[in-house]
Amino acid sequence: MKQYIIRRLLQMIPTLIGISIIIFAISAMVPGDYITARANPNMSIEKQEQLRSIYGLDKPDYQRYFIWAGNMVKGNFGDSMQHKQPVTTVINTYVWNSFIIGIFALFFSWFIAMITGIFSAKFQYSFFDKIVTLLVFICMSLPSFFIGLLLIKFFALDMKLFPVGGMITSGLNARGWEYFIDVLKHSFLPIMVLTMLSTGSLTRYFRTSMLEVIRQDYIRTARAKGLKERTVIFKHAFRNAMIPAITLLGFELPGLFGGAMILEQIFVWPGVGHIYLNSINMRDYPFMLGFTIFLAMLTLLGNLLADVLYGIADPRIRLK
């Protein structure tokens, strides 16, 4: 197992090099740079050239790639042009806020999807199944900005249950438990919307997987042995149905840190999503490239994690 993990980690190196070349090439091909994106009406040509040479934007693309990649290897992501701070500091400042709503939404959407998935499968084509399917598809198909604004209108403006946006109440200066409750209140609506959006597809996934397992011979055997239906469904069927879901879990890893661009914008959540979007619009190359590489690494790690867990969960699969 150890050997397998080490080999997989080593394999990541060429993959990352490939990824870095592609994203760098794309960023270099996209028209404009930070100076043109700023569109400062007062900037003289000399000043523009001076800035480009300080940022290294005047060098040919291949040279810029090697300088950038060389720094990345040393762990130096460079300074964000917009924030005038090291990229790693900027990521660290914002990414944990995205993580908070990401992890809760992940937990709730998996929990809800498992329950509804199992029951939908158990009572296939029943009234319950149809209602769940309908709800799930409604949640999936409504755009997040629409649900978001709708919930703000109902819960924040009309019922005044939750704040409109942000992460903390300004001027409250809460500490400890009070602070926790305050953040919880603010995060409720964004977590709810994010959960609604991702529960849909997961429910369908679990339902299908469950349906497949329920028809297996060993389930029939279990029932024939006279086991209670609860034991059959939750112990025998459910466990087996969950194995393919491990792969999905691995893919959730980058999503936890990637932030939700639109959602964060609507709820004024200080996550990394809109910082990333801004960096693309403003051609803030160090941040844009650094964060993309960060997400790529997480994706690769998530992939590895899924494969390893798969081996643990299902002894029939041997990892070599």
């Binding site: 569109a39 009406p41 000043k47 917009q82 005038k84 703000i152 409109v164 300004s170 619009n281």
Partner: protein, 583 residues
Amino acid sequence: MTKKWNLMLVLLLALTVVLSACSGDNKKATAPETNKTKETVDTTTPVETPAEGEQSSGLIKATDASLNPELAKNRKDTLIVGMTDPKGVFSPLFMETAYDYYVNYSVFDSFLQVKADGSYVNSLAEKIDVSEDGLKYTYHLKPGVTYTDGSPMKASDYLFTMKLLLDKSYDGESDPLSYHIVGAKEYNEGKSSDISGIKVIDDNTVEVSLTEYSALSPVELGTVYILPESYYGKGYKQGDLSSVKEFNSKPLGSGQYKVTSYKAGQEIVLAANENYFKGTPVIKNVIFKTTTDSTNMAMLQSGETDMDNINVSEDNVDELKALGFLDINILPNNGYGYIGFNHKLKKFQDPKVRQALTYGLNREEIVKGIYGPYADVINIPESKVSWAFTDENIEKYDFDIEKAKALLDEAGWVVGADGLREKDGEKFKINFSATAGNPVVEALLPIMTANYKELGIEIVAETLDFNAITDKKTAGNFDMYFAAWGLTPDPNNTVYITKGAQNDVGYSNAKVDELMATGKKEMDTEKRKDIYKEMYQEMNKDIPVIFMYQRTNMTAVNARAQGFDISPYKDFPFSLHQVELQQ
């Protein structure tokens, strides 16, 4: 399987980057034009639009302050200002976005400060002596000014700040090399460890010598925000600003407020500076809270914020008025929208063609369609509240299709067999580069296409990302496009002078060049007025671009906060210390 996955991942990532690059919207946070000089015009005078007979700029007072939400009423010593999140660059050296400017305006001071009418008054300076040739400025600092850590401000701090700005590794947007200070270049290149043109005479006096002056010099030199050397200078060595940048999140100045906490993307908490040299600010705490376009109105309504910038539209104005407890300021934006031509192309070189394209475009319909009464069609590139604005002998180019047709005929473009105009075998076709997702372009294109079709001109539009259009402009590979320029308080700029840094359209007019150069060297505002009047009249005839509109900005302030002095030139932080909360 893993190999396949890896490949897919790479593709997926690549796609993500491409797609997100395409989807970027183009609302640029343009830096507020660094306040340059200016003079008079009462900006709070309501301007009536005859069509609606409704107030379309100025102040709309709150009708019923008792409707104030409990949340706001209970906040007795704190003002919450909603705004887009700053980037956390709390240093006057490196700030770029308007929102970082707002924080820095509250924390730092300079010798001069802008007034509502765009002119300047002494702030930190007690007195400024200017030599007769305009090349020597002596600043006398007010005595007893201290920074918020208690240390006294010295005239040498001005020299220190200038050194930082002129450092070789300086990558902010200020351009102090263009101020022509004696010895600035030597310091920048590392040939000298001092700036010979800035002499500290005593603790309260500093003298600056220039090699050449311009009308902008007093303001450029006077609005340098002074940083304490005792704090920022700790690790600074010539040629390396990294130690100074580390203080970006922990600013220290002499200003009205000091930053007590900063939560990135959430809020900046400011506390009053009790020893502020203009008197202790009335409101103890001010919080700049992050808001976005989609919910900033809801936050004002619920009382979570006391003040915010709301997009101007008839619906939004009505909604804010209906809330009743907000004072609404509608002020002309420092900027204008225009349609650029490529002057390098033969078809656009004839002024008659450019005039015809202006007469033949129903600008009124386009502008009213987007902004309702909250924007004006313009004919010169100047704000209607600027001292340099003129409407004397300015042709209004009202929509007149017959006149446009006549002008095109005169220019030799005749209607061909297929209904399109042609000259020397070339058909009149215009490729229009349209910005993706820009509401103005969406309203403009259909009207323009229809109007020009009537003239016998075909419009072919392609939609591109903002940066892609900028690239095309720089490369000169375009026919026409729509964009907007920011306006500085001073009319001097390089947008319309031959080979100017911002002259992407390739416009060249000897008379405009000459008048712009004369205006820059003239120190007397009355004389400058005449110079720019003549320049604008020339532009009005020559049509460098089709001028479209000047729109407005709207700031809504909870009526419990009184005392703001806001104008298109004076941003809200400048009057923050005199604002009080009514209980």
